[in-house]
Symmetry: C2
Subunit: 144 residues, 2 copies
DNA sequence: GTGAACTAGTTGTATAGTACAACGTGATGT
DNA sequence: ACATCACGTTGTACTATACAACTAGTTCAC
């Protein structure tokens, strides 16, 4: 058991523990917008609108799941659909004004929570932690 | 927008993206043992047996959820219950031989996946990444 | 230009994971 | 001995998810 093995083991355990709690934590903090809805809405906002299929591909969801999530967001009045005039199969999705507002609130509150958790970190460590996470996620995406 | 803010923003995004995919990835890699079952079984193995209530507390689950998860693991033959002779309300849970075996397989395969993802990291970076994750999770637990 | 193949999205159905409330049963402490 | 507490199960409901079957538009080959 090398030091390297120890580190990998710790990384695995901590990533697992984090994943294990993330949804429940998000649901507790933001009952009005689940982690899933939040990420979908954030993606729409970020991309200035996109298709259901794009959301499904980006989040590894079945298109039926994406369809139902979008329907739920529409029912809540957070998303609106605009039929693409060039291809009538396609619906381009956009946050509504209200959706953008709720998203902004949740984003602000999430940001605050992260700032609190990381308040006593040195800037140098934050910087490195951020780049490690980017690197890790990129590798996971690359390797499946 | 300081450099510090940027780092926190990246950390938030990457942690969220990771959490967002973790279950699906785990399910794809290990259809025989979901992420939830895996963590519960691992805890039993680690603790040399514990109660349903302990699992619930440790994973922030309702006791009914713990009860059903355990029932599922028992149905699969991965967990057995031993009534505490000193308190007949209590069931001490243990992995069965088969449960321990399946757990060992999944653990080995998860470990392999993590090693692959982290293969080209310098030991120094692994070490720091591990300690950042520990620190982050501890803060999250402390602050809710 | 018409039919086959493809693409976008919805709906039916089934499953896992979860919470909350109500309950049964065993233990404890006045 | 009775009230209260602790442990676990069951009823119910909801969310997130996948897969399969479907409808309706689009494109391409001939």
């Amino acid at each position: 058991m090398t030091h390297r093995d120890d580190s990998v083991e710790t990384i695995q355990q901590e990533m697992t523990a984090f994943a294990r709690r993330a949804r429940a934590t998000a649901a507790r903090m933001h009952p009005e917008l689940s982690l899933v809805s939040y990420t979908l809405l954030a993606h729409l906002d970020d991309q200035q609108g996109c298709r259901a299929t794009d959301l499904a591909a980006h989040y590894y969801l079945d298109k039926s799941t994406a369809s139902r999530q979008i329907a739920a967001l529409e029912r809540l009045g957070f998303v609106e659909r605009r039929i693409d005039p060039d291809d009538h199969r396609v619906q381009v999705l956009h946050p509504t004004t209200e959706g953008a507002q709720v998203l902004a609130n949740v984003t602000a509150s999430r940001r605050k929570a992260f700032h609190e958790r990381l308040a006593d970190w040195r800037e140098e460590d934050l910087d490195r932690f951020a780049s490690y996470l980017v690197r890790y996620n990129a590798a996971q995406e690359r390797l499946g």
